[in-house]
Symmetry: D2
Subunit: 307 residues, 4 copies
């Protein structure tokens, strides 16, 4: 039976483009969801095998929602990540010259990212809000089209057979959005030597040094932090948790030792997954935190206690 | 002449509600902008005295955009903050029973935040995307209204004289969004004893310990970090800066000393402002980092060097 | 068969007083040695079961020698410590009034410690050097006595039946000297809850931060350092090792974890023993480094790796 | 008028050899003192311009006494250091073959350091204690000589015109002892780029992390610690101070900043002097703690506070 994955829809979003990068995705059934939360809740309720959601720097939002939702759930684990280039096209149903485009539909965040291009190239065009870039593209095919053209991902233009009026219209070239594949808790994917680990660490106290005590546990084990974000835990601003991505895999002694230390001062720390890096960038592990160094240290201490 | 402030519009957004909390705001002219970037650029071009934009946890987005825009600008400074409760109403042009609402307009993020209420109370209603909650409210007054009702801030419903069908419909009660008032660089507002300082620190190298070296400069001066966020500096994911809010004011010796230390290892650090906390929570300053302790230490070292 | 212990002699030194405080010492055979090194070498060559030597603050020297000798030996372990009050008497063979004492024998360090008393009470007396306070006392009984009186420990005056002319003549009251009992490597004495651990840590590099990296391993496990001394490793000043006493026992998880971490960055670290504190001062162990916290953290990490 | 220096006497000790290395020493008047304390007290009472005393690794003791005496005095400052090779000769009044030497006088510590040589070369010789190596040498010239030969410094043998029976007889070759020149408080000798600074830091509390908090102040300013020793402050073992030698000079911004930070947490910290290193080893100062970096940071923070 083929796998089923939910994603932040509708069909044709950057999130679906991310899903298509995941292992075995071509053969999987892809189920659009109306929001990050509903995509994740389909995992929780066993309606799908996994969900793909944006976790950093997204066009259509959901990033804070994703961090909060995954961090808050007892029942979810990240098993893969993907990086998708954020490039927009201006698409229309039928071929149309740029000068004739009078209305442009898209998500408000996408509109903000093509603003300078739009002012230079379709200066008189009116902006029509849409709930996503893909919804804007789909809206071109409606009986009463929402606009003359849509700003959307190349994927949806291709899926719907739209005409591409202009491409690479984003004001800042080269942006990437990071997406993750989330499943029910499972054995982490195998250690590859180029891995990340995501954790959620509730701050024990709001005082100078609390964060540093936590970081020391990573630093003394040579574990690099590649993303950190403090997030309020709830309604009253003032209680925080840290959402962090670490370089390394829970199956490495240094990562296990660091998390073990963090657990002692923040026992409600949650492990949200170890998984291969999308960029496959291999890791330099200093000798003093190598598997060999941990193993030699353990042997030594065991011998002291036994003798 | 009265002051002029831009804000993330249109009229009636949560951002305008934040602006109304700022000092002297009632008498100021309030100018809606189409995006965070355009609100800030009006400051840069001297069209307004300041701009109010969301910086944390926002309904209508702009948060990462705000952090990145302020951090990247050489020419902006935060001088005040405001906390706005995020509470939604369902508003209609004319009184209408809940059961009759068939279409609901709002921003996609707002829709995500009232989803459970909507499923329970207007289960059949169709969602109509809008570029902001306020735009949805304004759309009710159009010749061809966009929807039967809008999910929006209480402020805009009141401003437009709309009928409130239901209030406090947010799924999670008590959420607050943080907004800041941004001006051209200026002398920081006076030290109140309950202040924050915002800085942008480019990470010198992507290695274990770099963040900790920076934090040590704060910890050894008893300066608490109340928000931290790592952000990619540009297109290639991998180079980072840290956006941080610190407890304390640049006019305090301990904050000045900490920033001085950070500047040595990250000379491109940017100071984005010291300003009173919106919650007025007074600060406990440990004795060893008090003004008196810094002053005594300076006197001592000066005497050693002079003798 | 009774146990045999060597000690820094001759008979009647403060070191013998320390030996008499050790468990089962009364029944043991006590063998004076001419130097710290020769006392320790008797252990190495299995001529005795253990050696008692001064390790801190000693009257008759040997402290640096002791630290260096124990640190350098592959084959020695500290199993107990004792604290001896350093109090001197002025002793003579026959009763003699203070005013009649014209020559005083003692070790040069002891003479330095009673200097003010001597200037006030036997101002005209000539100082006669001796190789130890006990040797000075023994010298009073020689056919040709070395001096009219000796400054020595109360123990030797009593052992030799000398007349005590004046007691408590030390210029600074209340000083204690610390002695240790050294044996061949063995299972450490049982954990009592008021223990010390002595280690020798070669500094990996002579650079800022190297010592701090080591200390972090103790601090993050709540292990207090109660003695630290940097010592040159050999002839060329510049390469160092640290001799340290830690609060805690190798059988505690927090001590084992700290030493394990230190071993990774300084693999030639030597464990010199865990033993009960002479002052029996019980230890406060913070909750985050309790046995329970270590055990819970291990269970958690094991579960993450296994699932 | 020529300068006057006291030193740990008598004439011919290793300490006098150290004094002869000090600037302008040849022309100075050299006054032997009976103990470290009395040499230092001559400075305090303005009887001399300075005192030379051993501070590390000494043959004739006085090291702990020196550290404690200088640390405890309000009125003393280290202005220079010297390193003296510890090499012993066996000296006699008249030429004598080795096999004829039946008694050997010296200080007990020196005897310990030539023990292996003595066992091999003068196995039957009887040891005669002396209060110093130089006193042993002088004793050879007495009407009733104390011994056939003395183990002493080459300097005293030369000064007294003794016969050198054997030289380089120390068991461990290459040892150096460190001596310091102590004066009344004064402007520190000029910064040379190869300097040391000696401080005494009372431990604020006997708890894990207190020492690390202090070290952090040095590490974050790139100030290396080349000697550290914890010393009990008085009678009750348990309250400590740290005696430390730092690389660098009080006139360097990084050293001044580090000491300023330490003063805040340990206000009773004492500065005992900045002075040129005896080994003239030049110092690498990382860029982030260079004078330029401190100056740039100060300019930046001043501009933030002024604007």
């Amino acid at each position: 039976m083929s796998r089923r994955y939910s994603y932040l829809g509708p069909s044709g979003t950057f999130t679906e483009a991310a899903l298509l990068q995941m292992p075995d995705a071509e053969a999987a059934e892809r189920i659009p969801a109306a929001s990050v939360l509903s995509a994740l809740s389909m995992v929780d309720q066993d309606q799908v095998d996994g969900a793909v959601v944006p976790i950093e720097n997204s066009v259509e939002g959901g990033v804070s929602a994703t961090v909060d939702a995954i961090s808050g759930a007892a029942n979810l684990q990240i098993v893969a990540e993907a990086l998708v280039p954020i490039s927009f096209v201006l698409a229309s149903r039928h071929p149309v010259p740029l000068g004739m485009v009078e209305t442009v539909a898209t998500h408000s965040h996408a509109w903000a990212q093509v603003r300078r291009w739009a002012e230079a190239n379709v200066p008189g065009a009116e902006y029509v809000p849409a709930s996503s870039t893909a919804a804007a593209a789909h809206g071109l095919l409606a009986e009463a089209p929402v606009a003359d053209a849509a700003v959307c991902a190349p994927l949806v233009a291709e899926q719907l057979g739209l005409h591409v009026v202009a491409s690479h219209i984003e004001d800042v070239a080269g942006a990437l959005t990071r997406f993750v594949l989330v499943t029910k808790p499972a054995v982490a994917p195998q250690h590859t030597g180029a891995d990340k680990t995501t954790v959620m660490i509730p701050l024990p106290e709001d005082r100078p040094g609390a964060l540093m005590e936590i970081l020391e546990h990573f630093t003394t084990r040579g574990v690099n932090i590649c993303r950190i974000e403090s997030r309020p835990t709830g309604s009253a601003m003032g209680d925080y948790f840290f959402s962090m991505d670490l370089e390394g895999h829970i199956d490495e002694a240094r990562v296990a030792a660091a998390l073990s230390g963090v657990h002692r001062i923040a026992p409600n720390t949650r492990f949200l997954g170890s998984y291969p890096r999308a960029d496959s960038k291999p890791q330099q592990v200093p000798e003093d935190v190598s598997e060999a160094a941990f193993s030699a240290a353990k042997t030594w201490v065991d011998s002291l206690r036994g003798r």
